[in-house]
Symmetry: C2
Subunit: 267 residues, 2 copies
């Protein structure tokens, strides 16, 4: 926001003072406070970038000090019921707009920050019957300035989609790495690029992902059942020695995966 | 091999003449024949780089024309029983050495060939009680010249390790992409880098991977059961709302995955 001249004073808030001092030294923030309410006092725009499981408590803590007309947005990976709860937690005259930029990586922390992170990347902005259209347009404007490609949807739709293309793959990657370790941890030393790519997301923040999967667990549990059905089908073909049924399933996946190349996103 | 001056005449063999013409135009091969027996006549070294399911038939076809002292090696992803069968199929005086370079990608074809593909990458070379030590040393020398990091092991050990760190992840990636399509194919358009990385291997050659998983199915079926056990454990934690149990599993995977960074390989 600073690089795009979208803000005046930036106040940082976090749990660890050392990170805040570093952010200030790097010129990313102007001031900081480890108390969220004090950090948000008089702010025009508040951005929640903490694990989604902390949102409600934080909203309760900062609520009394938010000024009329303030906008609260987030960058969390779960929307669904959380957006509706956050809308209800906002004081009168303060508007919540849910955002999910499809960017970033398994890395976290101030040293991996970059002004171009969102350029060309998809950003989902949620809309509900309570969404204030003026606040919505201002938030859309912020993401447009970053160079994001914006899609708008209802929070529940967001959670169904991202349970499939993000939350389920994370759960699978965590389970895959742990399974290899359970069977023979020493084999990890023989892994090639395929394994490394397919499990990169298993080094994502456990704290962040614990909250994400917990808040989207109904979709996840349903979809994981379908995934297990596909795994079982492949195992049946393997047991039956049905090479052509296996090839057919592989061809189907290859075709779908190859079609992803030219999609909007940061590929 | 040509770039490293390891060979005189290179004869190519393949199913599709157009690819062979292209390889000759690119200076990768000197001559070609679509008949494998004719292509291998008088060769000092024969390299099998076809789907592993074709090896035995090809060995039978070329056997009668192989010259005394010839070495047959391969670059297939399955070793196990196949290496022992190939050893038995070689005519007297011809030696088979199983090789598996941990390099390459989901891409295939002559246009993705590169002389530096194996530099710094792991290469598994198998050894059995029948392995001819002089042929073995010559093959080791070839891979050393390419800059590979060589590990030697018994073929069965290779298959247990690579069922875990390569064949199982491929099966999972294929099943994951197909599951997303089964539930809501349109959601694929919202996938970010995490999904793309974790499913890149699902665009690997279906023909090649059909043969690999079929030939290593006993290990695979056993290990997939363990993977499903880990998936089920995560689902139980989700259902029970046990956030700390989930976080513990995620932390374990993150730690293991992060330890991979500095391993030998082409990361």
């Amino acid at each position: 926001m600073r690089k795009n001249a979208l803000c005046g004073h930036v106040a940082g808030c976090g749990r660890t003072e050392a990170n805040l001092i570093r952010a200030k030294e790097m010129g990313i923030i102007d001031s900081f406070d480890t108390d969220p309410a004090r950090a948000c006092e008089d702010a025009d725009l508040i951005v929640f970038a903490t694990p989604v499981g902390t949102f409600k408590e934080l909203a309760n803590r900062i609520g009394p000090l938010l000024k009329q007309g303030a906008i609260v947005m987030d960058v969390g990976s779960v929307k669904g019921g959380l957006v509706y709860e956050m809308e209800d937690l906002m004081p009168s005259g303060v508007h919540f707009i849910g955002c999910h930029p499809i960017a970033g990586s398994n890395r976290s922390g101030i040293d991996t920050a970059g002004a171009d992170l969102f350029r060309g990347a998809l950003c989902i902005i949620t809309e509900t019957s309570k969404t204030d259209s003026s606040a919505f347009q201002r938030v859309v404007g912020v993401w447009r300035t970053f160079g994001s490609v914006i899609r708008t949807m209802e929070p529940g739709e967001h959670d169904r989609i991202y349970a499939l293309v993000s939350h389920m793959p994370h759960l699978i990657a965590y389970a895959l790495v742990n399974s290899v370790d359970d069977i023979d941890g020493s084999s990890l030393g023989f892994a090639g690029q395929g394994f490394k790519d397919s499990t990169r997301i298993a080094s994502s923040s456990p704290e962040m992902w614990r909250d994400i999967v917990m808040l989207n667990r109904e979709n996840l549990l349903k979809f994981i059942d379908a995934f297990k059905g596909n795994i079982d089908a492949l195992c049946r073909h393997l047991r039956a020695g049905d090479a052509s049924a296996l090839e057919k399933e592989f061809r189907r996946a290859k075709k779908l995966r190859e079609a992803l190349k030219d999609n909007i996103g940061n590929d």
